[in-house]
């Protein structure tokens, strides 16, 4: 760079000031430090070449775009970016993709190609334009007569779709139902609202294909979902202990008192045991809930199993639980603030319960 710097005019400080930012843009996409140096220099050379044509206060964004394009063209030269399209980071589209990040095995490339081929042409084009050619959302928006925000949202949806298709190709699976792809895309996108609408949890329990594929999708989200949502599969005795201990940890983290945490853990123990005793398999999802200024913990237990034929009786027979006749449902209900059971004979049961922070109990609620 010394030679290049000597050619700079009085504005060279502007370029020097750009170095840390350019290094950051490149460094976030490339791991190899020597390669980072090379690409930073290549970027700066291009920025300097364009210096006279670019306004001073647009130098920084121009340099950032150039840096991304340099990285992208490097990746294209190495024919790697295409293979990695499905793995590119979700979320912050403009800062977190890493086209030249790492090497990929040959077989993976053919899977990616097959998955890409399953996307509609328009979606494939925009994905490739962004991920492979390095076109930014503003450029893509301009040529499509839309806004960068809309393009970003569309790219996120396409990526979510792409991950699903990639995993389906990889596992050589054809989804057995019409709902499967919608469910998998909602999971892939991390779209909680859509997941609730589709009741994805229930679908995963009864659909082996989606259960398998979702393992690959949920891995991606474990880091972001573990803070306020925990899932515990329940099939055997030991899982009951895991579920209630997980519940206690989440409750404590959400600020529940030791007493309330114990009540929550006990309620989880009761309903998790029902799954082990009466159902084939199930899961317990523990999450933070917040509505209208009140704050609490939500426990949802779902299972695939025979369902509860006499629900009213099962709920009423509270005092028989310790004699071994009850289902633990009435007991769990007494420990929580809200309690709801939906059961379908021959299909399964979903128990949803909530405990609110007592300090922030919802107005009008009675403690009993």
């Amino acid at each position: 760079m010394d030679g290049a710097r000597s050619e700079l005019g009085p504005d060279d400080q502007v370029i020097v000031d750009l170095v840390p930012m350019v290094r950051k843009v490149v460094g976030s996409r490339i791991r190899d430090p020597h390669l980072v140096d090379d690409l930073v220099q290549e970027t700066l050379v291009r920025v300097m070449a364009a210096h006279s044509r670019v306004e001073g206060d647009t130098m920084a964004p121009y340099a950032a775009v150039t840096a991304r394009n340099v990285v992208a063209s490097y990746a294209r030269r190495n024919d790697r970016a295409r293979a990695r399209a499905h793995l590119l980071a979700h979320g912050d589209i403009d800062s977190s993709e890493r086209p030249g990040d790492s090497l990929l095995r040959q077989e993976d490339r053919s899977i990616v190609a097959a998955a890409l081929a399953r996307l509609p042409a328009a979606e494939r084009d925009i994905l490739v334009a962004h991920e492979v050619n390095g076109d930014d959302t503003r450029t893509l928006a301009a040529t499509r007569d839309t806004t960068p925000g809309a393009v970003a949202a569309q790219l996120a949806r396409i990526r979510a779709k792409m991950r699903v298709e990639y995993l389906l190709v990889k596992e050589n699976l054809e989804p057995p139902t019409d709902r499967c792809r919608a469910v998998l895309r909602a999971l892939s996108a991390g779209d909680r609202r859509r997941q609730r609408e589709l009741d994805t949890g229930a679908h995963l329990l009864e659909c082996d294909c989606c259960a398998l594929v979702s393992a690959g999708l949920l891995d991606r989200w474990s880091a972001s979902s573990s803070d306020d949502e925990m899932r515990v599969p329940v099939a055997r005795d030991a899982d009951v202990v895991t579920a209630r201990q997980t519940g206690r940890q989440v409750a404590a983290r959400l600020g529940f008192s030791p007493t309330d945490s114990t009540l929550i853990a006990t309620a989880i123990s009761e309903i998790a045991r029902n799954i082990v005793k009466f159902a084939e398999r199930g899961e317990i999802v523990i999450s933070h809930v917040s509505t209208g200024g009140s704050d609490g913990i939500s426990i949802v237990a779902r299972d695939v199993g025979p369902g509860i034929p006499a629900l009213e009786q099962a709920m009423r027979d509270g005092y028989s639980t310790y004699r071994g006749l009850g289902l633990g449902l009435p007991g769990a209900r007494r420990l929580m603030d809200e309690f709801d059971v939906v059961t379908e004979v021959g299909k399964g049961t979903t128990v949803s319960m909530t405990k609110w922070h007592s300090a922030r109990r919802r107005p009008g609620d009675n403690e009993n």
Binding site: Q245, T259, T262, L263, A265, T266, E270, Y322, G328
Partner: protein, 143 residues
């Protein structure tokens, strides 16, 4: 003396059972699942018969919850033990666990409770008429 493994398990011991004279003192080291709870119950019933114990103390202070199953298991243990001539005292129920048990309307029939091990031993002594200090030291022979 520390008990060997619970029957049917090759896992590390989650429970230790000490014999002190005519009493069995049970310490649970970690949360137990239902199978482990049942195994403990069976093992204790067997040992009460074999060792002709007059009392059992179960320290549950490390159990994370006492839910309907755990309570039922302890109740059954106490019932069977009584039929074989032994009393059962559960010690170490934490305030949180006690509150949960009350809210669940769980009762432990046949089971006596005491705050801690010391009080539990005293209670067993009263219940079995073996008030003698020596019983606690394991030096007193029966009869």
């Amino acid at each position: 003396m520390p008990s060997p493994e619970l029957p049917g398990t090759s896992e590390p011991l989650r429970v230790s059972i000490l014999t002190q004279g005519q009493f069995l003192i049970v310490s649970i080291h970690t949360a137990l699942d239902d199978t482990q709870m049942t195994r403990l119950q069976e093992d204790l019933i067997e040992q009460v018969g074999r060792q002709r114990s007059r009392g059992i103390i179960v320290d549950v202070s490390t159990l994370d919850v006492l839910d309907s199953f755990a309570t039922r298991t302890l109740t059954q243990l106490a019932h069977v033990a009584r039929l074989r001539g032994a009393e059962t005292v559960v010690v170490g129920i934490s305030p949180e666990v006690a509150i949960a048990m009350v809210q669940l309307s769980l009762q432990m029939s046949f089971v006596h409770t005491a705050l801690d091990l010391e009080e539990g031993l005293q209670r067993l002594g009263e219940l079995t008429g073996a008030l003698d200090e020596a019983a606690f030291l394991g030096t007193r022979s029966r009869g």
